[in-house]
């Protein structure tokens, strides 16, 4: 849950997606700027944290990189519960991984936090020749489901930082703003009237 301090926000972010879609690689690229061809399979989940500065605030991402295999699904709620954001990753060269991504979106919509910022990442965008999922299709799906969509490549680093920055920008922050601003609005005209009468 994004807890808003004055300018520092801690945001829990969870990565979900099919086996080998590149969740861990995305995180590794974002957090350490590294890429390895064969990333060790993630068992259960792995944790990372990284801070980004957006406009006037800093967002500290607490990133849970989950295991992709079907059966680890049963552990996923533990990690996406209370998350402020999620990146659902699929492999553009693998149609099945896109179908799986849709399932994740459904599950998050049904069981996750309703204010969760969700991003759809079509990973391995460097594998253009092997493309199986058209970006238009994914874009349309993302729009229909209120996600934002980017094609990323952990290998070339394309759009990796961008997707995290975009999430950071969309995080609901300063949740208490409505009250103070309301008070100010009520107070100001009165003051102005006073001063006006004084001055004239």
């Amino acid at each position: 849950m994004a807890s808003s301090g004055n300018k520092n926000i801690n945001a829990k972010l969870v990565l979900l997606g099919d086996v080998g879609a590149g969740k861990s690689s995305l995180v590794l690229r974002f957090v350490k700027g590294q890429f390895v061809e064969f990333q060790e399979s993630t068992i259960g989940a792995a944790f990372f944290s990284q801070t980004v500065a957006v406009n006037d605030a800093t967002v500290k991402f607490e990133i849970w990189d989950t295991a992709g295999q079907e059966r680890y699904h049963s552990l996923a709620p533990m990690y996406y519960r209370g998350a402020a954001a999620a990146i659902i990753v699929y492999d553009i060269s693998n149609q099945a991984s896109f179908d799986r991504a849709k399932k994740w979106v459904q599950e998050l919509q049904a069981q996750g936090n309703p204010n969760m910022v969700m991003a759809l990442a079509g990973n391995k965008s460097d594998l253009l020749d092997a493309r199986k999922v058209e970006s238009e299709e994914a874009q349309t799906y993302a729009q229909e489901n209120g996600l934002f969509f980017l094609e990323t490549s952990a290998k070339t680093a394309a759009n990796v930082n961008e997707i995290f920055y975009e999430i950071a920008k969309r995080l609901p922050r300063l949740q208490q703003t409505p009250n103070p601003s309301g008070m100010v609005l009520v107070d100001r005209p009165a003051e102005r009237a006073n001063t006006a009468s004084c001055c004239s």
Partner: protein, 805 residues
């Protein structure tokens, strides 16, 4: 046999492997941030390792001496140990040969005899099957193995019932591969014995009678090892102190009871379809890895793609996992998936199998994996991962109880222990701790034969790092710290000894109680979730249900039974639609009875409608409840706000009052000051007025004085005038009465002093003088002349007066 040696050499890291700067003694990559610490500990590990091998050597030697019938075999065994220590390559031959000799010599025990019988064929078998990669462990460990194997038997005996119960569930798969299921389920060591005695590699010929005979045989068998414990405690200590590297592979096999588990040829049978598929596989590699060739193959083959994906992701870059190593890994994982289709392949097994392959030949690794997964971690890596979740709840209980302060802090930060410990348990600490520590934990875990060591290790880690964790300020920091601290637990002895000594009271029986306590809740939530996923199922799911129903001939009772079964399968497959559709397709009977379909659909529709209605009602209820809660919440918030505001107002009032008081006080002071000022001002004014008055008075006096002095002057003039007049008169008189001038003048003077006679004369004189002045200036002149003259007279007069006075 040469193939055996080759494979063993390829996969077993030589104990004296050089310390690569990025890889540890086992060939595993060391993380860059840990390199420094690893180097610091590398020497300690070496020392420990030396100590350890001495202690074990000593123990094993004594073991052999004390073995009741081993006197003849002693020299042979001893030489075996020596040769083992010398080189691992030759052990495969030596130990089996020596073992065989020793057992020949023993002869006395019936089971030893049978073992000896077994051994001979197994040795010959290895020569017959060229691909076979299997080696007996050295005979010096036989006693340990026997003791441990007794555990295997017992577990399996107890397990018999649930296994047979499970078989019903698995029946569709058995149908797919007739005959094989039977051998799978009863893979007890009994077959092993029997098969040896028959020396018939064909398992499928086993009759039910044979199994019976074996069961009874086992009972007597099982009681025997109970008499062994005197050295068991010593062994336990040794294991906790660590297992020497060159014995580790074999000791692990002994702990798991590989020889007792092994069913001859079983592994190859499992891989049999692989021979066709194997060639296909290499093609697959060359072509495109993710092309879906698998639908046509049997159900377990759905794992094929996943296994294939994970092969290069298992210890990437490890020198031993070259192409041969990966092929072996693929075979083991595939064989296990076929051996236990209800579990299939689960990520994490690739790491276990990889590790085992590094320590032992392929088939040994397979049987060890089977032992670990089927016994130690039963229910852990299955589709629902039920036991894994149960264990996390149990662990949370324990951590909560042992480290209340730490848990409080973690609760406060919003950190769940299971986030971190879940992966610890699932990987059995692989990749979570430094390798030396992982292996030490595995030593104890495999020895103990249950998951207790998982718990003890986590508790030890919490004990070691809890104090640091309590200082963290947010969830991210806490998790990062715990991960990195665990990752740098290089002091493996400290860890293992803390785990085993400080948490000795964490026992399997207690864990079982706790597991039983938590299991229903986990199961319930799993069901809840699978219901949720079921709701998302598209028509395909329904169709598979329909067809599974249709397969049974019409009767309602069976009909209601069957869907349940398929439900179970679906729950198992947790929303995996692809696999579902595969299952469904398999069950689809090409013959379609439309009527039945319609009936079934109607029933299903009714059910669904009812479900929907109740769900809607429930939703409404929940919504109103939610509204109520929100309202209450709002009210509470509002009242809290009001209270707060009121308090603020009161405070402000208080401040205001204070201010006013202060103001009053200031005013008073000001007034007083003002008054004083006024007073002083008045005083000043008075003083000024006084001064003015005085000045005025002074002036007046001055004037008066001047006036007076003027008058005086005039008077004097007048007096002078009068005198002169008097003189003049006197002179005149004296002129008239010359004879007696002086006495008269004296008299006149006297009369002047008397005033009375003087005044009229003066008056007359004055008047006349005035008249004279006005009438006749000449007179005046004369007067002036007279006056001019007078001073002289006056002077004389004065002299005279003075003389007279």
């Amino acid at each position: 046999m040469t193939t055996v040696r080759g494979a063993a050499a390829a996969l077993n890291p030589a104990p004296a492997i050089s310390f690569d700067h990025k890889r540890d003694a086992y060939g595993f990559a060391v993380r860059p941030q840990h390199l420094q610490r690893y180097r610091e500990y590398a020497n300690m590990y070496k020392e420990e390792e030396e100590e350890r091998s001495d202690r074990w050597k000593d123990f094993l030697e004594r073991q052999c001496e004390s073995a009741p019938l081993a006197i003849n075999g002693l020299p042979g065994n001893n030489s075996a140990i020596k040769s083992n220590v010398e080189s691992t390559d030759s052990t495969a031959d030596d130990s089996s040969n020596n073992g065989a000799e020793a057992k020949h010599a023993n002869g006395g025990k019936p089971d030893n005899l049978s073992e000896e019988n077994k051994e001979a064929p197994s040795a010959s078998e290895t020569k017959v099957h060229q691909v076979k990669i299997w080696a007996e462990i050295r005979s010096s460990l036989r006693a340990i193995e026997d003791m441990m194997s007794s555990r295997v038997k017992k577990v399996n005996l107890i397990k018999n019932e649930p296994v047979s119960g499970m078989r019903k569930k698995l029946s569709p798969i058995e149908e797919a591969r007739p005959g094989k299921g039977a051998s799978e389920e009863d893979s007890d060591e009994e077959f092993y014995d029997l098969e040896r005695s028959e020396s018939d590699p064909n398992l499928e010929t086993l009759s039910a009678d044979a199994i019976h005979a074996l069961d009874t045989g086992v009972d007597s068998h099982a009681t025997q090892p109970e008499s062994l414990p005197p050295w068991k405690e010593e062994l336990e200590c040794l294991v906790q102190g660590g297992v020497p590297m060159e014995l580790r592979g074999e000791l692990w096999q002994a702990f798991v009871g590989v020889r007792a588990r092994r069913v001859d040829n079983y592994y190859y049978k499992l891989l049999a379809p692989e021979t066709n598929l194997g060639s296909k596989n290499t093609e697959l590699d060359d072509r495109n890895r993710e092309s879906n060739v698998l639908e046509s193959v049997g159900v377990p083959e759905k794992w094929e793609a996943q296994i294939e994906k994970d092969l290069p992701r298992t210890f990437p870059g490890h020198p031993a996992l070259d192409e041969d190593g990966r092929n072996a890994l693929r075979r083991i994982l595939t064989a296990y998936a076929r051996h236990n289709p209800s579990v299939g392949y689960c990520q994490a097994m690739n790491f276990f199998a990889g590790l085992l392959l590094l320590l032992m030949p392929e088939e040994n690794a397979f049987w060890t994996l089977v032992g670990v997964l089927d016994d130690y971690f039963d229910g852990y890596y299955s589709e629902e991962m039920l036991e894994s979740q149960v264990d996390q709840l149990v662990l949370e209980d324990l951590v909560r109880q042992k480290f209340p302060k730490l848990v409080n802090h973690l609760d406060y930060l919003g950190v769940e222990v299971a986030w971190v410990t879940g992966p610890w348990f699932l990987t059995i600490y692989m990749n979570m701790l430094p390798w030396e520590s992982v292996l030490r934990v595995w030593d104890v875990l495999l020895f103990e034969g249950n998951r207790v060591m998982l718990f003890r290790t986590t508790l030890a880690l919490m004990e070691l790092y809890g104090p640091a964790l309590v200082t963290t300020k947010d969830a991210g920091d806490a998790v990062t710290l715990l991960q990195s601290l665990a990752g740098s637990t290089f002091d493996s002895s400290q860890l293992v000894l803390t785990a085993c000594m400080a948490y000795q009271n964490v026992q399997e029986t207690r864990l079982q109680e706790l597991r039983n306590k938590h299991r229903p809740a986990v199961r319930a939530s799993l069901e809840e979730r699978s219901k949720g996923t079921k709701a998302w199922k598209d028509s395909q799911g329904l169709a598979s249900k329909l067809y599974s129903f249709k397969k049974d001939p019409g009767s309602v009772i069976i009909g209601s039974d069957k869907p349940e079964q398929s439900d179970m399968q679906m729950n198992g497959d947790v929303s995996h639609l692809d696999s579902l559709s595969v299952d469904g397709d398999e069950e689809i009977d090409p013959v379609k009875d439309l009527k039945e379909q319609v009936v079934w659909l109607k029933v299903e529709l009714c059910n669904l409608l009812e479900d929907k209605r109740s769900a809607e009602l429930r939703a409404e209820e929940l919504e109103t409840a939610l509204m109520e809660m929100v309202k209450q919440d709002n009210r509470r918030q509002l009242s809290a706000r009001v209270e707060q505001l009121e308090q603020e107002i009161a405070e402000i009032r208080q401040v205001l009052a204070d201010k006013q008081e202060q103001e009053n006080a200031m005013l008073q002071i000001l007034m007083r000051v003002e008054q004083e000022q006024k007073v002083t001002e008045d005083a000043r004014m008075f003083a000024e007025q006084d001064a003015a008055a005085q000045r005025y008075a002074a002036q007046v006096l001055q004037e008066k004085y001047e006036e007076a002095s003027a008058e005086l002057a005039e008077m004097e003039k007048r007096a002078v005038l009068a005198e002169s007049m008097l003189e003049a008169t006197l002179q005149y008189q004296s002129v008239q009465n010359k004879p007696q001038p002086s006495p008269r003048s004296k008299q006149a003077q006297q009369s002047n002093q008397d005033h009375s006679p003087e005044i009229p004369t003066r008056k007359i004189g004055l008047l006349s003088r005035w008249r004279d002045r006005n009438k006749d200036p000449n007179d005046e002149k004369s007067l002036n002349e007279g006056q001019k003259l007078s001073p002289k007279q006056d002077n004389t007069n004065g002299h005279e007066v003075q003389e007279k006075v």
